[in-house]
Amino acid sequence: MKALSLGNLRKTYSNGFEALKGINLQVEEGDFFALLGPNGAGKSTAIGIISSLVTASSGSVSIFGHDLKTDCERAKSCIGLVPQEVNFNQFDTVKGIVLNQAGYYGMPRKLALQRTEHCLKQMDLWDRRDTVSRRLSGGMKRRVMIARAMVHAPKLLILDEPTAGVDIEIRRSMWLMMQEVNQQGTTIILTTHYLEEAESLCRNIAIIDEGRIVENSDMASLLSRLHIDHFVLDLAEPLNTAPTIGGCQVELISDKVLAIAIPKEIGLNQLFSQLTAQNIQVMSLKNKTNRLEQLFMDLVASK
């Protein structure tokens, strides 16, 4: 079953800006799906329409088979949204925020209390349940929004840059949590500017640019299209000029650091053979850019 189906979705704002130019997109049930794009590409508009915060100019949205226009309440009850920016009442307690959201979804009080406790414990916030939300750290506020989005056990969880601005420790714990939630059967749509995050978590991907879908495929086949890997090499001895290595582009960044673009057909063994032949000793090596980042830049730049 399709968790989400967008049909020729268009949005033109009142100032004439055409944010979406007829996008078609399908997300399978159980998927962990990345929706990527540069700033202003139309991601937030698309998510806004799916979650009923933005009115579409035309086109259709179907969530688990429920049309958002004609079967609005059923469609909405399938969705949990974690927005980009904090949007809860800063004067409410953590527990109050999550409990109220359960009420909006029509959850009886006893069940709402149980679900609130479960979600706050899952987000490691149960000890802070009576804290007024404005006193929380940025990372905690994001976790409150995730707990709030999860309280009615949505079938489709939309995470709009959930890890923006949080430190790496919290980010990694949030990745684990997202994976757990997905493994339990919840379909997840993730937007993020951390492409490493999308690459490691998501199975399928769509890239949106200037209001159009420019790429929509599974992560593995997309990454396999990357023909060139970029590496940075730390050298043992300084060099005056960049060495010549057949088939590769080599740049001397500093006297002991080389940047190399190496086609997949050459491979690292051949690279190291050539370096050894020139008496160049490599101390360490790392990817210059994340693989998805490279593809993303290529796809967005080519349009």
Partner: protein, 254 residues
């Protein structure tokens, strides 16, 4: 879908909000109206004599109560709903399967409850200064209820259309307050020159003050039946307009 739970959630959230900030919501009207009763009713009123057979203190009590109902039912909805918009937590309701009529009725109920609660507080304080037998409790209560409903709806529309905090203070300061003071709270419309009597008839608050005064002390300058028709007409019109604004997403959706 069980909408009653969503409705109750909004109403309890609203009640909790104005009770939590009771020094801002319940205490000021108690102090202000005590001063009204003391200065206008007691000190000045003793020298004025009677109006339409009622002592001046008895005459102004209903108007002061209904004025409090008007300002607080309006203020509750306009400030609460605009804050909800401003902090963007209106999105909590918009993403959830809550129909527009539940959102509207939840916020309006919150405004009605605060308006009537403040009215009750003022009425209790008035008992320290005035003694009167209630003339018609049904008319008094229904007038208070319809007035609170009407001004809660007006506050909701103001909040929906407002784009800044200035926009939510313009109507209370420059429309509601003048209309309330010119709505026969402290005087009978018969005391005005004929031209001002005619102009006053265009002030809807005059009708509500007089209907409530009739319910409490049996004195009115206005036809009570006409007042009820007018209030119900306004309520229906404002309800439909609010639902239209919500349906179009005006002020809350892009």
């Amino acid at each position: 879908m069980n909408y009653s739970i969503a409705f109750k959630t909004i109403v309890f959230k609203e009640i909790y909000r104005f009770l939590r900030i009771w020094p801002q919501t319940l205490l000021p009207p108690a102090i202000t109206t005590t001063l009204y009763f003391l200065i206008f009713g007691k000190l000045i009123g003793d020298r004025i004599g009677t109006i339409s057979g009622a002592s001046y203190m008895d005459y102004i009590v209903p108007g002061i109560i209904i004025m409090s109902v008007i300002s607080h039912s309006y203020a509750n909805v306009v400030s609460s709903f605009y804050s909800t918009k401003f902090q963007r937590n209106i999105e909590e309701l918009l993403v959830a399967p809550v129909p527009n009529w539940v959102i509207l009725s939840g916020y309006i109920s919150g405004g009605i409850i605060r308006g009537l609660l403040v009215g009750a507080v003022v009425a209790l304080i008035s008992l320290l200064f005035a003694e009167f037998a209630v003339h018609n409790i049904a008319i008094a209560l229904s007038t208070a209820l319809l007035t609170a409903t009407l001004f809660s709806l007006a506050g909701f529309i103001n909040a929906l259309l407002a784009e800044s905090f200035d926009d939510i203070s313009i109507i209370p300061n420059f429309v509601l307050t003048p209309l309330s003071y010119l709505g026969g709270v402290f005087y009978s419309v018969d005391m005005l020159p004929p031209i001002w009597q005619t102009i006053s008839m265009g002030n809807p608050i005059l009708y509500m003050v007089n209907a409530f005064r009739y319910g409490l002390i049996g004195v009115s300058d206005i036809d009570i039946q006409l007042t009820f028709i007018m209030m119900i007409g306004f309520i229906i019109t404002l309800t439909l307009f609010s639902l239209y604004l919500l349906y179009k997403g005006i002020g809350i959706k892009n």
